[in-house]
């Protein structure tokens, strides 16, 4: 049984996480922008664009925060 202290498994866990982290933030940002565009303001497509930009920033932020917790 692998131990959490084992650097191989800890590193593998971190590596698998980073991709989904980037993608999920982008989807949430774009989705929020798109939903407000379509259902609330009718300002398509500007909030979708803004949401995607903010989502990308949030994704990078999440990845950065993850890297700060990187096991040393």
């Amino acid at each position: 049984m692998p131990q959490p202290q084992d650097p191989f498994y800890a590193g593998l866990g971190q590596a698998v996480r980073i991709g989904t982290e980037l993608l999920a933030a982008l989807v949430v940002g774009g989705g929020l922008g798109w939903a407000i565009d379509t259902y609330l303001l009718g300002s398509s497509p500007w909030l979708l664009v803004l949401g995607l930009v903010l989502g990308a920033a949030a994704g990078v932020r999440n990845a950065y925060r993850m890297a700060q917790r990187w096991p040393k």
Binding site: Q3, Q5, V16, T20, V28, G51, L54, G55, A58
Partner: protein, 249 residues
């Protein structure tokens, strides 16, 4: 032989039950969940009943699992986190057993249904929100403002942090679901090739199926581990607001 690789993920109701318009039929996934819960209960009760100082095989397996989960909690949340041990141990064992049991040919992987993983992820995230507001009150909204942010950056940072918070349950749910589904699609396609290839060439994809199954055992374990670690991290964030963050400077 002309079967879609997604066919194994379709659910057919064995016993259709409908209560007030809600479909609560018994299907393959429900039965697999019962089996998993039963298996874990039997394993843990049997392992715990001996209580020997020098543990037998079963008892040392259970002790190893418990020690493993305890290690995760202590690493990510510190000593306070042990209050959540029952919740986190249950989540870890359930996901691990679902992942592993799904690898037995002919059975079903419950965690390849996004409903299941989404319910886990949303429960964990809702718990972390409720706990954060109970412990810190209105100050918990400060989780949206990273420490050291200048005031003129606030209009930019608050939407970004809001999105990064909302992305947490989604990435948690999608990661587990996608890894489990993708693994089984690959296994299905490879096995389909082996069957349609015949004896002459079919042994090659069949060998790959076996190798992939071995890899999937590792993935089953790693995904359960990641889900548990992230659960601890999110709960820990709500516990000590800005506690572990930004220490790198």
């Amino acid at each position: 032989m002309e079967e879609s690789p997604l066919h194994p993920f379709e659910l057919h109701n064995f016993i259709p039950i409908s209560v007030g318009g809600f479909d609560i039929s018994i299907n393959k996934a429900v039965i697999m969940m019962w089996i998993v819960v039963g298996l874990i209960s039997i394993l843990m009760i049997m392992a715990g009943s001996a209580r020997r100082l020098v543990p037998g095989k079963l008892q040392s397996l259970a002790e190893m699992l418990v020690d493993f989960i305890r290690g995760i909690i202590l690493d990510t949340m510190g000593k306070d986190g042990m209050k959540f041990f029952p919740l986190i141990a249950t989540l870890f064992l359930f996901i691990l057993f679902c992942n592993l049991i799904g690898l037995i040919p002919g059975s079903y992987t419950v965690t390849s249904q996004i409903v299941v993983t989404a319910v886990f992820a949303c429960t964990v995230y809702a718990l972390s929100l409720v706990m954060g507001f109970v412990l810190h009150g209105g100050k918990f909204l400060g989780i949206l403002v990273p420490p050291g942010t200048p005031a003129w950056l606030l209009p930019l940072m608050i939407p970004i942090e809001l999105i990064s918070q909302l992305a947490r349950p989604i990435s948690l749910a999608v990661r587990l679901f996608a890894n489990m589904t993708a693994g089984h699609v690959i296994l299905g396609v490879l096995f389909g090739l082996a069957v349609s290839g015949g004896l002459l060439i079919g042994w090659l994809p069949f060998a790959f199926t076996i190798a992939m199954n071995g890899l999937e055992v590792g993935i089953a374990f790693i995904q359960a581990y990641i889900f548990t670690v992230l659960t601890c991290v999110y709960l820990g964030d709500a516990f000590h607001l800005h506690g572990h963050e930004e220490h790198a400077h």
